[in-house]
């Protein structure tokens, strides 16, 4: 399909001429926001003579607070049908995704594929994706679910029940995301949510950010009992390739919950798909 837009009944997504995510429109409410998305990685802290705590299986501890961007390398174009329209993006030989808008589903699906994370430079890497809506005004406040149950409000560098002395500006603001993470605009009119199909870590470090940890591969043991670096290998002996999906929802605050709760149910209890080959025609089968 020519052009840079994919659309369905509920959502429209536009990409810039390089293939980067540019804007999302909720066609039901008429809301449009500019949005960017980047893939980045934090270097895992290896530990040193004065500070031995390495990043590992139990401990997320980046080496520095600024992640390194993995730029888009290949724009695979748009494929449009009557059921789904999708756009292909390649960020490196080990990071890629497909963005999908369905004709009849009230979300934008982002299916990412990460790995094997290269560690031949002996540097552990913790790969995140960061969605950003400029000037959103969420003021360091975001919401994550608690194990698929209650949605809890989180605030940067703050805990509601004790005085936090923050020593980890990135990791200390990461929270579990089991079903979803969301940010509310400063005027309290718009909610941007990202639902997940697996447990991830998430935060909102900068205004308008939703940042989610997708995959980690590290070279040092964190000394918390595993006795090995977090460097899981597949049956081919290489690092794991991980694939998952994000479901993006943009809606007015008053009607967002009605949509994200039903979508979250469908993500958690997704239909079971079973196959057969009966060698009969469909009418006979029925």
């Amino acid at each position: 399909k020519a052009g840079n837009t994919i659309s369905g009944k509920y959502y429209s997504v536009t990409f810039d001429n390089n293939g980067n995510l540019q804007s999302i429109t909720n066609l039901t409410s008429g809301l449009t926001v500019p949005i960017t998305q980047n893939f980045l990685y934090y270097k895992g802290f290896p530990g040193n003579s004065t500070d031995g705590q390495a990043s590992g299986a139990y401990i997320f501890r980046p080496d520095g607070n600024t992640p390194i961007q993995i730029p888009l390398t290949t724009w695979g174009g748009i494929y449009a049908g009557s059921v789904v329209q999708e756009a292909y993006q390649q960020f490196s030989s080990w990071a890629s995704q497909v963005v999908r808008v369905y004709a009849d589903k009230p979300y934008v699906e982002v299916q990412w594929t990460i790995g094997p994370i290269p560690i031949d430079d002996n540097v552990g890497k913790e790969v995140v994706t960061r969605y950003n809506i400029p000037n959103f005004g969420n003021n360091g406040v975001f919401n994550t679910d608690a194990n698929g149950r209650e949605i809890l409000q989180r605030q940067l560098n703050y805990r509601p029940t004790w005085n936090l002395q923050q020593t980890e500006p990135v990791a200390g603001n990461y929270f579990p995301v089991n079903a979803g993470i969301g940010i509310t605009s400063g005027d309290a009119k718009t909610l941007f949510s990202v639902l997940v199909d697996r447990s991830e870590g998430g935060t909102s470090l900068n205004d308008g950010d939703v940042e989610l940890m997708l995959h980690r591969r590290l070279v040092k043991d964190d000394g918390r009992g595993v006795g090995e670096a977090l460097n899981e290998l597949g049956s081919d002996g290489n690092g794991l390739i991980v694939r998952g999906s994000h479901y993006l929802l943009l809606d007015s605050l008053s009607s967002a919950a009605r949509v994200y709760r039903t979508v979250a149910q469908e993500v958690l209890l997704t239909p079971q798909v079973i196959f057969s080959n009966s060698n009969t025609n469909s009418a006979q089968y029925v």
């Binding site: 049908g81 789904v84 090995e228 290489n238 239909p271 057969s276 025609n281 029925v286």
Partner: protein
């Protein structure tokens, strides 16, 4: 009950945080994978038993039902290597769901029938993305495309849809999937 108990027990073992979050040694991770694969294979027997009771008319055995455990990387022997297949969708939610099916196929022209077996439903054929092709597979891929269509599934119930290839099907050869057990 024996098969279901096997699946329940391995799922119970895998509830430990080591089974979920990567805080185990590599050898233990392989062991979790093997246990889960064994449990899923046992669970497939339960699925087939259930469909033998639900699907056939009296005296007619139901066709063997199989899972496609590599469907998320666009591998499924049932849809890739035959020119016609049945797909049954079970919805565990207590309300109807519109589900979008995405099945790997070798051809480029298909018709999909709804659960009455005669009503065609709209479908798309999309190329399998390059990011899928870069994933190593246990056996060569037959599929180049994905067949995408919407399925209406009733509350806490199931429907069967039917796929049929309209062209390019002469070289297809179905091989039942062997049980997946990690090394």
């Amino acid at each position: 009950a024996v098969h279901l108990q096997h699946l329940a027990e391995v799922l119970g073992v895998a509830q430990h945080h080591d089974g979920i979050s990567g805080t185990s040694k590599q050898a233990v991770a392989y062991d979790y994978a093997q246990r889960l694969a064994d449990g899923v294979n046992a669970g497939q027997n339960v699925i087939n038993d259930a469909f033998h009771k639900l699907l056939p008319k009296a005296g007619t055995p139901a066709p063997i039902q199989g899972l496609c455990t590599y469907l998320n990387i666009s591998i499924c022997n049932y849809t890739e290597t035959t020119s016609s297949f049945e797909v049954t969708f079970y919805n565990p939610l207590g309300r109807p769901v519109l589900f979008v099916a995405r099945l790997p196929v070798a051809g480029s022209d298909y018709i999909v029938y709804a659960s009455d077996g005669v009503t065609p439903v709209p479908n798309d054929i999309h190329p399998i993305s390059q990011d899928t092709f870069r994933i190593p597979t246990p056996e060569p891929r037959a599929a180049k495309n994905e067949l995408v269509f919407s399925v209406n599934i009733p509350a806490a119930g199931f429907v069967t849809y039917f796929g049929k290839q309209l062209s390019d099907g002469s070289s297809l050869k179905f091989k039942p999937e062997s049980p997946k057990v990690s090394a």
